[in-house]
Protein backbone atom coordinates (compact mmCIF):
# COMPACT_ATOMS: atom_id res chain seq x y z
CA UNK A 1 0.00 0.00 0.00
CA UNK A 2 2.63 2.48 1.09
CA UNK A 3 5.21 1.07 -1.27
CA UNK A 4 4.28 3.53 -4.00
CA UNK A 5 5.08 6.47 -1.71
CA UNK A 6 8.37 4.97 -0.66
CA UNK A 7 9.31 4.76 -4.31
CA UNK A 8 8.29 8.34 -4.86
CA UNK A 9 10.35 9.58 -1.93
CA UNK A 10 13.27 7.43 -2.98
CA UNK A 11 13.07 8.85 -6.48
CA UNK A 12 13.01 12.34 -5.03
CA UNK A 13 16.22 11.72 -3.13
CA UNK A 14 17.84 10.27 -6.22
CA UNK A 15 17.19 13.53 -8.00
CA UNK A 16 18.44 15.44 -4.98
CA UNK A 17 21.76 13.61 -4.99
CA UNK A 18 22.03 13.66 -8.75
CA UNK A 19 22.19 17.42 -8.42
CA UNK A 20 25.31 17.12 -6.26
CA UNK A 21 27.32 15.51 -9.01
CA UNK A 22 30.32 17.55 -10.11
CA UNK A 23 31.89 18.08 -13.48
CA UNK A 24 35.68 18.06 -13.80
CA UNK A 25 36.79 21.24 -15.53
CA UNK A 26 39.99 22.64 -13.94
CA UNK A 27 39.01 25.24 -11.37
CA UNK A 28 39.86 26.49 -7.91
CA UNK A 29 38.35 28.76 -5.29
CA UNK A 30 40.12 31.79 -3.93
CA UNK A 31 38.93 33.28 -0.66
CA UNK A 32 39.82 36.72 0.61
CA UNK A 33 38.38 39.65 2.56
CA UNK A 34 35.97 41.12 -0.02
CA UNK A 35 35.44 44.75 -0.95
CA UNK A 36 37.93 46.88 -2.84
CA UNK A 37 40.78 44.69 -1.56
CA UNK A 38 39.46 41.54 -3.18
CA UNK A 39 38.58 43.46 -6.34
CA UNK A 40 42.19 44.54 -6.60
CA UNK A 41 43.38 40.96 -6.05
CA UNK A 42 40.92 39.75 -8.63
CA UNK A 43 42.04 42.32 -11.16
CA UNK A 44 45.77 41.90 -10.73
CA UNK A 45 46.06 38.19 -9.82
CA UNK A 46 43.01 36.10 -10.54
CA UNK A 47 41.75 37.32 -13.89
CA UNK A 48 45.17 37.37 -15.62
CA UNK A 49 45.88 33.92 -14.15
CA UNK A 50 42.58 32.50 -15.37
CA UNK A 51 43.26 33.85 -18.84
CA UNK A 52 46.84 32.69 -19.06
CA UNK A 53 46.38 29.15 -17.71
CA UNK A 54 42.76 28.59 -18.73
CA UNK A 55 41.78 27.65 -15.18
CA UNK A 56 38.51 28.90 -13.78
CA UNK A 57 38.95 30.84 -10.52
CA UNK A 58 35.92 31.12 -8.25
CA UNK A 59 35.86 33.73 -5.53
CA UNK A 60 34.59 33.61 -1.98
CA UNK A 61 34.99 36.01 0.90
CA UNK A 62 35.15 35.88 4.69
CA UNK A 63 35.86 38.21 7.59
CA UNK A 64 38.69 36.29 9.17
CA UNK A 65 36.59 33.62 10.89
CA UNK A 66 39.10 31.02 11.98
CA UNK A 67 36.29 28.59 12.70
CA UNK A 68 35.30 28.44 9.04
CA UNK A 69 38.78 27.31 8.01
CA UNK A 70 38.97 24.83 10.88
CA UNK A 71 35.50 23.49 10.17
CA UNK A 72 36.32 22.92 6.49
CA UNK A 73 39.52 21.05 7.20
CA UNK A 74 38.08 18.98 10.04
CA UNK A 75 34.95 17.91 8.20
CA UNK A 76 36.95 17.26 5.03
CA UNK A 77 34.57 19.47 3.07
CA UNK A 78 37.19 21.86 1.73
CA UNK A 79 35.52 24.29 -0.68
CA UNK A 80 38.15 27.05 -0.52
CA UNK A 81 41.58 26.26 -1.95
CA UNK A 82 43.63 29.41 -1.48
CA UNK A 83 42.87 31.69 1.43
CA UNK A 84 44.37 35.09 2.17
CA UNK A 85 45.00 35.10 5.93
CA UNK A 86 46.47 37.54 8.44
CA UNK A 87 49.51 36.80 10.58
CA UNK A 88 47.48 35.70 13.62
CA UNK A 89 45.30 33.31 11.61
CA UNK A 90 48.40 32.01 9.84
CA UNK A 91 50.36 31.21 13.00
CA UNK A 92 47.37 29.61 14.65
CA UNK A 93 46.52 27.60 11.55
CA UNK A 94 50.07 26.28 11.27
CA UNK A 95 49.94 25.22 14.93
CA UNK A 96 46.67 23.38 14.39
CA UNK A 97 47.82 21.86 11.08
CA UNK A 98 45.22 23.37 8.79
CA UNK A 99 47.45 24.18 5.82
CA UNK A 100 49.15 22.17 3.07
CA UNK A 101 52.94 22.40 2.91
CA UNK A 102 53.83 24.42 -0.19
CA UNK A 103 55.66 22.92 -3.13
CA UNK A 104 58.67 25.12 -3.81
CA UNK A 105 59.41 23.42 -7.11
CA UNK A 106 56.31 25.19 -8.40
CA UNK A 107 56.55 28.38 -6.38
CA UNK A 108 59.55 30.54 -7.21
CA UNK A 109 60.62 32.56 -4.16
CA UNK A 110 64.00 33.89 -5.29
CA UNK A 111 62.90 37.52 -5.29
CA UNK A 112 60.92 37.48 -2.05
CA UNK A 113 61.98 39.67 0.86
CA UNK A 114 63.67 37.87 3.77
CA UNK A 115 61.27 36.50 6.38
CA UNK A 116 58.28 36.27 4.07
CA UNK A 117 58.61 32.63 3.04
CA UNK A 118 57.35 29.86 5.28
CA UNK A 119 56.79 26.16 4.72
CA UNK A 120 53.01 26.59 4.90
CA UNK A 121 52.47 30.04 3.48
CA UNK A 122 54.04 33.05 1.86
CA UNK A 123 53.49 36.64 2.89
CA UNK A 124 52.17 38.45 -0.18
CA UNK A 125 51.72 41.88 1.32
CA UNK A 126 52.25 44.03 4.38
CA UNK A 127 49.33 46.02 5.69
CA UNK A 128 48.71 48.27 8.58
CA UNK A 129 45.77 48.82 10.91
CA UNK A 130 45.74 52.55 11.46
CA UNK A 131 43.55 55.40 12.64
CA UNK A 132 41.57 57.02 9.81
CA UNK A 133 39.34 60.07 9.74
CA UNK A 134 37.20 62.23 7.51
CA UNK A 135 38.90 65.55 6.75
CA UNK A 136 35.53 67.33 6.61
CA UNK A 137 34.86 66.47 10.27
CA UNK A 138 38.07 68.14 11.39
CA UNK A 139 38.09 71.44 9.56
CA UNK A 140 37.91 73.47 12.77
CA UNK A 141 39.08 71.00 15.38
CA UNK A 142 42.15 68.93 16.12
CA UNK A 143 42.58 65.36 14.92
CA UNK A 144 43.90 62.80 17.40
CA UNK A 145 47.42 61.81 16.47
CA UNK A 146 47.82 58.74 18.68
CA UNK A 147 45.72 56.30 20.70
CA UNK A 148 45.94 58.34 23.89
CA UNK A 149 44.21 61.18 22.07
CA UNK A 150 41.73 58.80 20.45
CA UNK A 151 40.72 57.77 23.99
CA UNK A 152 40.48 61.41 25.09
CA UNK A 153 36.86 62.11 24.17
CA UNK A 154 36.72 65.49 25.89
CA UNK A 155 39.42 67.20 23.88
CA UNK A 156 39.06 65.34 20.59
CA UNK A 157 35.52 65.34 19.27
CA UNK A 158 34.03 62.88 16.85
CA UNK A 159 31.98 59.72 16.62
CA UNK A 160 34.27 56.73 16.89
CA UNK A 161 34.34 53.21 15.50
CA UNK A 162 36.53 50.20 16.25
CA UNK A 163 36.84 46.77 14.71
CA UNK A 164 34.86 44.03 16.41
CA UNK A 165 37.86 41.94 17.47
CA UNK A 166 40.42 41.94 20.27
CA UNK A 167 43.28 41.73 17.75
CA UNK A 168 44.80 45.18 17.52
CA UNK A 169 42.31 46.80 19.88
CA UNK A 170 44.03 45.36 22.96
CA UNK A 171 47.34 46.75 21.72
CA UNK A 172 45.79 50.15 20.99
CA UNK A 173 44.23 50.23 24.47
CA UNK A 174 47.62 49.54 26.05
CA UNK A 175 49.21 52.27 23.94
CA UNK A 176 46.47 54.63 25.07
CA UNK A 177 47.31 53.71 28.64
CA UNK A 178 50.93 54.68 28.10
CA UNK A 179 52.64 51.34 27.46
CA UNK A 180 55.66 51.92 25.18
CA UNK A 181 55.62 50.43 21.66
CA UNK A 182 58.32 47.84 22.31
CA UNK A 183 56.84 46.28 25.46
CA UNK A 184 53.28 45.53 24.30
CA UNK A 185 53.76 41.76 24.30
CA UNK A 186 52.87 39.70 26.21
CA UNK A 187 49.65 41.67 26.43
CA UNK A 188 48.25 42.34 29.88
CA UNK A 189 44.62 41.59 29.09
CA UNK A 190 43.14 42.87 32.34
CA UNK A 191 44.82 46.20 31.85
CA UNK A 192 43.78 46.41 28.21
CA UNK A 193 40.13 45.61 28.90
CA UNK A 194 40.04 48.09 31.76
CA UNK A 195 41.25 50.77 29.37
CA UNK A 196 38.72 49.67 26.75
CA UNK A 197 35.94 50.16 29.33
CA UNK A 198 36.63 53.89 29.14
CA UNK A 199 36.06 54.17 25.40
CA UNK A 200 33.21 51.68 25.08
CA UNK A 201 30.28 54.12 25.56
CA UNK A 202 31.67 56.35 22.81
CA UNK A 203 31.95 53.68 20.12
CA UNK A 204 29.17 54.14 17.58
CA UNK A 205 29.88 51.15 15.40
CA UNK A 206 31.78 47.91 15.83
CA UNK A 207 32.78 47.20 12.28
CA UNK A 208 33.31 43.70 10.93
CA UNK A 209 34.19 43.92 7.25
CA UNK A 210 37.21 45.84 5.98
CA UNK A 211 35.06 47.81 3.59
CA UNK A 212 32.95 49.31 6.37
CA UNK A 213 35.36 52.01 7.69
CA UNK A 214 35.76 53.89 4.36
CA UNK A 215 31.98 53.77 3.92
CA UNK A 216 31.20 54.89 7.46
CA UNK A 217 33.77 57.67 7.28
CA UNK A 218 32.74 59.01 3.91
CA UNK A 219 29.07 59.30 4.93
CA UNK A 220 30.24 60.79 8.25
CA UNK A 221 28.27 58.21 10.18
CA UNK A 222 31.47 58.12 12.19
CA UNK A 223 34.33 60.62 12.15
CA UNK A 224 37.18 58.45 13.47
CA UNK A 225 37.77 54.77 12.95
CA UNK A 226 40.44 52.13 12.87
CA UNK A 227 40.89 50.84 9.32
CA UNK A 228 43.17 48.89 7.03
CA UNK A 229 45.47 51.38 5.33
CA UNK A 230 44.87 50.17 1.75
CA UNK A 231 41.11 50.63 1.98
CA UNK A 232 41.56 54.25 3.04
CA UNK A 233 44.20 54.81 0.36
CA UNK A 234 41.83 53.39 -2.26
CA UNK A 235 38.89 55.51 -1.05
CA UNK A 236 41.09 58.61 -1.20
CA UNK A 237 42.15 57.60 -4.69
CA UNK A 238 38.45 57.46 -5.56
CA UNK A 239 37.96 61.03 -4.38
CA UNK A 240 36.81 60.59 -0.76
CA UNK A 241 38.14 63.14 1.72
CA UNK A 242 39.70 60.57 4.03
CA UNK A 243 43.04 60.63 5.71
CA UNK A 244 45.05 58.30 7.92
CA UNK A 245 47.56 58.49 10.71
CA UNK A 246 50.55 56.15 10.60
CA UNK A 247 51.66 56.88 14.15
CA UNK A 248 51.23 53.79 16.40
CA UNK A 249 49.69 51.73 13.64
CA UNK A 250 49.87 47.94 13.70
CA UNK A 251 51.86 46.29 10.91
CA UNK A 252 50.86 42.82 9.84
CA UNK A 253 51.87 40.55 6.97
CA UNK A 254 49.13 38.79 5.03
CA UNK A 255 49.73 35.25 3.78
CA UNK A 256 48.52 33.01 0.99
CA UNK A 257 47.83 29.50 2.27
CA UNK A 258 46.36 26.36 0.74
CA UNK A 259 43.88 24.57 2.98
CA UNK A 260 44.72 21.00 3.90
CA UNK A 261 42.69 18.56 1.83
CA UNK A 262 42.31 20.95 -1.09
CA UNK A 263 41.47 19.07 -4.28
CA UNK A 264 43.19 21.62 -6.51
CA UNK A 265 46.57 21.79 -4.83
CA UNK A 266 48.79 21.99 -7.91
CA UNK A 267 46.73 24.72 -9.55
CA UNK A 268 46.64 26.63 -6.28
CA UNK A 269 50.43 26.57 -6.05
CA UNK A 270 50.55 27.81 -9.63
CA UNK A 271 48.28 30.72 -8.76
CA UNK A 272 50.35 31.61 -5.68
CA UNK A 273 53.50 31.56 -7.78
CA UNK A 274 51.85 33.73 -10.41
CA UNK A 275 50.61 36.26 -7.85
CA UNK A 276 54.01 36.66 -6.19
CA UNK A 277 55.86 37.69 -9.34
CA UNK A 278 56.86 41.31 -9.80
CA UNK A 279 54.50 42.41 -12.61
CA UNK A 280 51.40 41.16 -10.73
CA UNK A 281 52.55 42.58 -7.40
CA UNK A 282 53.28 45.95 -9.00
CA UNK A 283 49.83 46.01 -10.52
CA UNK A 284 48.28 45.15 -7.14
CA UNK A 285 50.21 47.78 -5.19
CA UNK A 286 49.21 50.40 -7.74
CA UNK A 287 45.49 49.59 -7.27
CA UNK A 288 45.43 49.04 -3.53
CA UNK A 289 48.37 50.74 -1.77
CA UNK A 290 49.50 47.84 0.40
CA UNK A 291 53.19 47.08 0.88
CA UNK A 292 54.65 44.53 -1.58
CA UNK A 293 56.83 41.61 -0.46
CA UNK A 294 58.62 41.06 -3.77
CA UNK A 295 61.99 42.84 -3.75
CA UNK A 296 61.74 43.91 -7.38
CA UNK A 297 58.49 45.83 -6.95
CA UNK A 298 59.58 48.85 -4.90
CA UNK A 299 62.07 50.00 -7.55
CA UNK A 300 59.37 50.30 -10.17
CA UNK A 301 56.98 52.41 -8.13
CA UNK A 302 56.63 56.19 -8.40
CA UNK A 303 57.91 58.08 -5.33
CA UNK A 304 54.48 59.46 -4.41
CA UNK A 305 53.08 55.94 -4.10
CA UNK A 306 56.10 54.62 -2.24
CA UNK A 307 55.55 57.18 0.52
CA UNK A 308 51.98 55.96 0.96
CA UNK A 309 52.97 52.36 1.67
CA UNK A 310 52.98 51.02 5.24
CA UNK A 311 56.52 49.71 4.76
CA UNK A 312 58.11 52.99 3.63
CA UNK A 313 60.89 54.26 5.91
CA UNK A 314 58.96 57.25 7.24
CA UNK A 315 55.76 55.36 7.92
CA UNK A 316 57.28 52.28 9.50
CA UNK A 317 59.17 54.23 12.17
CA UNK A 318 56.42 54.60 14.76
CA UNK A 319 54.47 51.44 14.06
CA UNK A 320 54.70 48.07 15.76
CA UNK A 321 54.67 44.58 14.26
CA UNK A 322 51.95 42.21 15.48
CA UNK A 323 53.23 39.26 17.50
CA UNK A 324 51.67 36.29 15.72
CA UNK A 325 52.94 33.79 18.26
CA UNK A 326 51.30 35.53 21.19
CA UNK A 327 48.03 35.78 19.31
CA UNK A 328 48.11 32.16 18.19
CA UNK A 329 48.36 31.07 21.82
CA UNK A 330 45.91 33.58 23.27
CA UNK A 331 43.40 34.41 20.57
CA UNK A 332 40.77 31.95 21.74
CA UNK A 333 40.76 33.24 25.31
CA UNK A 334 40.97 36.86 24.18
CA UNK A 335 38.00 36.38 21.88
CA UNK A 336 35.93 34.84 24.64
CA UNK A 337 36.75 37.72 26.97
CA UNK A 338 36.14 40.20 24.17
CA UNK A 339 32.67 38.86 23.38
CA UNK A 340 31.74 38.82 27.04
CA UNK A 341 33.11 42.31 27.51
CA UNK A 342 31.23 43.62 24.50
CA UNK A 343 27.89 42.15 25.55
CA UNK A 344 28.15 43.25 29.17
CA UNK A 345 26.74 46.59 30.14
Amino acid sequence: MYRKYFYLVFLGFLFLFAGCNKKTEPELTFCSWGGSYQQAQSKSYLQPFAQKFDIKVNEANYSGEFAKLKGMVETGNVTWDIVSVTQSIFTRGVKEGLFEPLDFSIIDTTNMMPGTVNKYGIAHLLFSTILAYNRDSYVNSKVPSNWKEFWDVNHFKGKRALRDTPIGNLEFALLAGGTPLDSLYPINMDKAFKKLDEIKPFIRVWWVQGQQPPQLLSTQDVDLSTAFNGRIWKARQDGQKLNLIWNQGMLEPEYFVVLKGSKNKINSFKLINFALQAPQQTEFVKTMGYGPTNKLVLKNLPDSLRLDLPSSDINIKNQFMINGNWWADNEERALELWNKWKLSK
Binding site: Y2, Y5, V9, F66, A67, V208, L343
Partner: protein
Protein backbone atom coordinates in the same frame (compact mmCIF):
# COMPACT_ATOMS: atom_id res chain seq x y z
CA UNK B 1 -5.26 6.90 10.41
CA UNK B 2 -6.36 6.75 6.82
CA UNK B 3 -4.70 10.09 6.18
CA UNK B 4 -1.35 8.77 7.33
CA UNK B 5 -0.29 7.88 3.83
CA UNK B 6 -0.55 11.51 2.80
CA UNK B 7 1.59 12.50 5.73
CA UNK B 8 4.24 9.89 5.12
CA UNK B 9 6.44 11.88 2.70
CA UNK B 10 6.45 14.80 5.11
CA UNK B 11 7.27 12.60 8.05
CA UNK B 12 10.21 11.07 6.18
CA UNK B 13 11.51 14.38 4.87
CA UNK B 14 11.13 16.12 8.22
CA UNK B 15 12.76 13.36 10.18
CA UNK B 16 15.78 13.34 7.88
CA UNK B 17 16.12 17.05 7.24
CA UNK B 18 14.92 18.44 10.56
CA UNK B 19 14.67 15.98 13.43
CA UNK B 20 18.00 14.33 12.76
CA UNK B 21 20.04 17.57 12.75
CA UNK B 22 18.12 18.88 15.75
CA UNK B 23 18.80 15.74 17.75
CA UNK B 24 22.47 16.09 16.83
CA UNK B 25 22.35 19.62 18.21
CA UNK B 26 20.75 18.32 21.41
CA UNK B 27 23.53 15.75 21.63
CA UNK B 28 26.17 18.49 21.21
CA UNK B 29 24.53 20.66 23.83
CA UNK B 30 24.65 17.83 26.35
CA UNK B 31 28.43 17.92 26.06
CA UNK B 32 28.84 15.31 23.29
CA UNK B 33 32.11 13.48 23.92
CA UNK B 34 33.01 15.46 27.00
CA UNK B 35 30.34 14.19 29.37
CA UNK B 36 31.80 15.89 32.42
CA UNK B 37 30.53 19.29 31.31
CA UNK B 38 26.93 19.77 30.31
CA UNK B 39 26.63 23.02 28.37
CA UNK B 40 22.87 22.86 28.43
CA UNK B 41 22.72 24.36 31.92
CA UNK B 42 25.45 26.93 31.27
CA UNK B 43 22.85 28.92 29.41
CA UNK B 44 20.64 29.60 32.44
CA UNK B 45 23.61 30.07 34.74
CA UNK B 46 25.20 32.82 32.64
CA UNK B 47 23.97 36.34 33.40
CA UNK B 48 25.16 37.44 30.01
CA UNK B 49 23.15 34.95 28.00
CA UNK B 50 20.08 35.59 30.14
CA UNK B 51 20.42 39.29 29.44
CA UNK B 52 20.71 38.75 25.70
CA UNK B 53 17.65 36.45 25.81
CA UNK B 54 15.76 39.15 27.68
CA UNK B 55 16.85 41.85 25.19
CA UNK B 56 15.87 39.73 22.22
CA UNK B 57 12.44 39.04 23.69
CA UNK B 58 11.96 42.71 24.59
CA UNK B 59 12.86 44.01 21.13
CA UNK B 60 10.73 41.33 19.50
CA UNK B 61 7.73 42.15 21.67
CA UNK B 62 8.03 45.88 20.92
CA UNK B 63 8.44 45.21 17.21
CA UNK B 64 5.53 42.77 17.19
CA UNK B 65 3.30 45.26 18.99
CA UNK B 66 4.05 48.06 16.52
CA UNK B 67 3.67 45.66 13.61
CA UNK B 68 0.28 44.50 14.86
CA UNK B 69 -1.02 48.09 15.08
CA UNK B 70 0.24 49.05 11.62
CA UNK B 71 -0.70 45.66 10.18
CA UNK B 72 -4.23 45.92 11.51
CA UNK B 73 -4.73 49.35 9.93
CA UNK B 74 -3.26 48.18 6.65
CA UNK B 75 -5.38 45.00 6.72
CA UNK B 76 -8.47 47.04 7.51
CA UNK B 77 -7.97 49.36 4.53
CA UNK B 78 -7.07 46.37 2.38
CA UNK B 79 -10.43 44.74 3.04
CA UNK B 80 -12.85 47.63 3.60
CA UNK B 81 -11.31 50.45 1.58
CA UNK B 82 -12.46 51.67 -1.81
CA UNK B 83 -11.12 49.65 -4.72
CA UNK B 84 -8.30 52.07 -5.47
CA UNK B 85 -7.16 52.12 -1.83
CA UNK B 86 -7.42 48.31 -1.79
CA UNK B 87 -4.98 47.88 -4.67
CA UNK B 88 -2.63 50.46 -3.21
CA UNK B 89 -2.57 49.00 0.30
CA UNK B 90 -2.34 45.40 -0.89
CA UNK B 91 0.72 46.41 -2.90
CA UNK B 92 2.28 48.17 0.09
CA UNK B 93 1.46 45.26 2.36
CA UNK B 94 3.14 42.69 0.16
CA UNK B 95 6.02 44.85 -1.09
CA UNK B 96 8.52 43.81 1.63
CA UNK B 97 8.00 40.17 0.60
CA UNK B 98 8.91 40.89 -3.00
CA UNK B 99 12.30 42.43 -2.28
CA UNK B 100 15.26 40.57 -0.87
CA UNK B 101 15.55 41.33 2.89
CA UNK B 102 19.21 42.25 2.52
CA UNK B 103 18.32 44.85 -0.11
CA UNK B 104 15.61 46.21 2.18
CA UNK B 105 18.04 46.55 5.08
CA UNK B 106 20.67 48.28 2.98
CA UNK B 107 17.91 50.57 1.74
CA UNK B 108 17.03 51.46 5.31
CA UNK B 109 20.70 52.03 6.06
CA UNK B 110 20.78 54.62 3.27
CA UNK B 111 17.62 56.25 4.55
CA UNK B 112 18.66 56.39 8.20
CA UNK B 113 22.34 57.17 7.76
CA UNK B 114 23.90 60.50 8.52
CA UNK B 115 23.85 61.50 4.84
CA UNK B 116 20.40 59.99 4.19
CA UNK B 117 17.43 62.03 3.04
CA UNK B 118 15.72 62.01 6.44
CA UNK B 119 18.75 63.58 8.04
CA UNK B 120 19.15 66.03 5.18
CA UNK B 121 15.61 67.29 5.78
CA UNK B 122 16.25 67.51 9.53
CA UNK B 123 19.45 69.44 8.89
CA UNK B 124 17.73 71.79 6.45
CA UNK B 125 14.84 72.55 8.81
CA UNK B 126 16.63 72.82 12.15
CA UNK B 127 20.02 73.97 10.93
CA UNK B 128 21.53 71.19 13.06
CA UNK B 129 24.71 70.25 11.25
CA UNK B 130 25.32 67.09 13.23
CA UNK B 131 21.97 65.56 12.32
CA UNK B 132 20.12 62.89 14.26
CA UNK B 133 21.79 59.64 15.12
CA UNK B 134 19.29 57.12 13.79
CA UNK B 135 21.38 54.37 12.25
CA UNK B 136 23.18 52.01 14.66
CA UNK B 137 20.65 52.41 17.43
CA UNK B 138 18.07 49.97 18.88
CA UNK B 139 15.34 52.06 17.24
CA UNK B 140 16.80 51.35 13.80
CA UNK B 141 16.73 47.63 14.57
CA UNK B 142 13.07 47.84 15.56
CA UNK B 143 12.23 49.78 12.37
CA UNK B 144 13.82 47.05 10.28
CA UNK B 145 12.00 44.31 12.18
CA UNK B 146 8.65 46.07 11.82
CA UNK B 147 9.15 46.62 8.11
CA UNK B 148 9.97 42.98 7.43
CA UNK B 149 7.19 41.75 9.72
CA UNK B 150 4.38 43.80 8.19
CA UNK B 151 3.39 41.50 5.30
CA UNK B 152 2.88 38.48 7.58
CA UNK B 153 0.79 40.50 10.00
CA UNK B 154 -1.25 42.29 7.32
CA UNK B 155 -2.02 39.19 5.31
CA UNK B 156 -3.17 37.09 8.25
CA UNK B 157 -5.32 39.93 9.62
CA UNK B 158 -6.77 40.71 6.18
CA UNK B 159 -7.61 37.02 5.70
CA UNK B 160 -9.55 36.89 8.94
CA UNK B 161 -11.33 40.15 8.10
CA UNK B 162 -12.47 38.74 4.77
CA UNK B 163 -14.81 36.44 6.74
CA UNK B 164 -16.84 39.43 7.92
CA UNK B 165 -19.90 39.74 5.75
CA UNK B 166 -20.69 43.25 4.57
CA UNK B 167 -24.36 42.57 5.38
CA UNK B 168 -23.46 42.44 9.09
CA UNK B 169 -21.81 45.81 8.82
CA UNK B 170 -24.72 47.42 7.03
CA UNK B 171 -27.09 45.84 9.57
CA UNK B 172 -25.07 47.40 12.39
CA UNK B 173 -25.11 50.73 10.61
CA UNK B 174 -28.90 50.74 10.16
CA UNK B 175 -29.26 49.88 13.85
CA UNK B 176 -27.38 53.09 14.61
CA UNK B 177 -23.95 51.80 15.57
CA UNK B 178 -21.17 54.35 15.30
CA UNK B 179 -17.97 53.70 13.36
CA UNK B 180 -16.04 53.07 16.58
CA UNK B 181 -18.70 50.66 17.84
CA UNK B 182 -18.54 48.74 14.57
CA UNK B 183 -14.79 48.37 14.93
CA UNK B 184 -14.73 47.40 18.61
CA UNK B 185 -17.86 45.21 18.66
CA UNK B 186 -17.69 43.51 15.26
CA UNK B 187 -14.43 43.80 13.35
CA UNK B 188 -11.98 43.45 16.25
CA UNK B 189 -13.57 40.31 17.76
CA UNK B 190 -13.81 38.59 14.39
CA UNK B 191 -10.30 39.53 13.25
CA UNK B 192 -8.87 38.40 16.60
CA UNK B 193 -7.75 35.02 15.29
CA UNK B 194 -5.89 36.72 12.49
CA UNK B 195 -4.15 39.05 14.93
CA UNK B 196 -3.02 36.08 17.03
CA UNK B 197 -1.65 34.26 13.99
CA UNK B 198 0.07 37.43 12.85
CA UNK B 199 1.55 38.07 16.28
CA UNK B 200 2.83 34.53 16.46
CA UNK B 201 4.38 34.65 12.99
CA UNK B 202 6.02 38.03 13.44
CA UNK B 203 7.27 37.25 16.93
CA UNK B 204 8.88 33.97 15.95
CA UNK B 205 10.53 35.55 12.93
CA UNK B 206 11.68 38.56 14.98
CA UNK B 207 13.38 36.47 17.63
CA UNK B 208 15.49 34.74 15.00
CA UNK B 209 16.82 37.81 13.20
CA UNK B 210 20.57 37.97 12.79
CA UNK B 211 21.22 40.26 9.88
CA UNK B 212 19.04 43.15 11.09
CA UNK B 213 20.70 43.68 14.48
CA UNK B 214 24.17 43.24 13.03
CA UNK B 215 23.67 45.69 10.15
CA UNK B 216 21.25 48.26 11.56
CA UNK B 217 22.56 47.94 15.12
CA UNK B 218 26.21 48.50 14.17
CA UNK B 219 27.38 45.59 16.31
CA UNK B 220 25.92 47.13 19.45
CA UNK B 221 22.53 45.41 19.58
CA UNK B 222 22.93 41.73 20.34
CA UNK B 223 20.33 39.08 19.63
CA UNK B 224 20.38 35.39 20.48
CA UNK B 225 21.44 34.64 16.93
CA UNK B 226 24.42 36.98 17.39
CA UNK B 227 25.47 34.89 20.38
CA UNK B 228 25.07 31.66 18.45
CA UNK B 229 27.08 33.04 15.52
CA UNK B 230 29.85 34.22 17.83
CA UNK B 231 30.10 30.83 19.46
CA UNK B 232 30.04 28.94 16.18
CA UNK B 233 32.26 31.17 14.06
CA UNK B 234 34.57 32.97 16.43
CA UNK B 235 34.91 31.29 19.81
CA UNK B 236 34.45 27.78 18.37
CA UNK B 237 32.36 26.71 21.32
CA UNK B 238 29.91 24.59 19.35
CA UNK B 239 28.39 22.82 22.38
CA UNK B 240 27.42 26.14 23.94
CA UNK B 241 26.05 27.39 20.62
CA UNK B 242 23.93 24.24 20.34
CA UNK B 243 22.71 24.64 23.90
CA UNK B 244 21.65 28.22 23.21
CA UNK B 245 19.81 27.23 20.06
CA UNK B 246 18.01 24.43 21.91
CA UNK B 247 16.87 26.91 24.54
CA UNK B 248 15.70 29.19 21.78
CA UNK B 249 13.74 26.36 20.17
CA UNK B 250 12.20 25.37 23.49
CA UNK B 251 11.19 28.93 24.30
CA UNK B 252 9.60 29.30 20.87
CA UNK B 253 7.58 26.12 21.35
CA UNK B 254 6.51 27.38 24.79
CA UNK B 255 5.51 30.68 23.20
CA UNK B 256 3.42 28.83 20.64
CA UNK B 257 1.67 26.81 23.36
CA UNK B 258 1.01 29.95 25.39
CA UNK B 259 -0.52 31.77 22.45
CA UNK B 260 -2.50 28.75 21.30
CA UNK B 261 -3.84 27.48 24.61
CA UNK B 262 -3.97 30.45 26.93
CA UNK B 263 -4.20 33.72 25.00
CA UNK B 264 -6.76 32.54 22.50
CA UNK B 265 -8.93 30.82 25.11
CA UNK B 266 -8.86 33.66 27.62
CA UNK B 267 -9.71 36.40 25.14
CA UNK B 268 -12.18 34.38 23.13
Amino acid sequence: MKNLKFLLPYIIIYSILFLLPVSLIVYYSLGSNDVSHIYFFDVIKSNLIREVFFNTLLYSIIATFITSLLGWILGFTMVFGSSRIKTFTSFIGILPLLVNPLVIIYGWMLVLSNGGWVNNIVKAIFGNTAGLQMLYTPQAVIIGMVYLGIPYMTLSIALSMLEIKTTILSAAKTMGASFIQIITKIILPISKEGIYTGIFFVFVISVGYYIIPSLLGGGKVDFISTLIEQNVNKVLNWPLASAISIWMLVSMILMFLIVKNILIKVFR
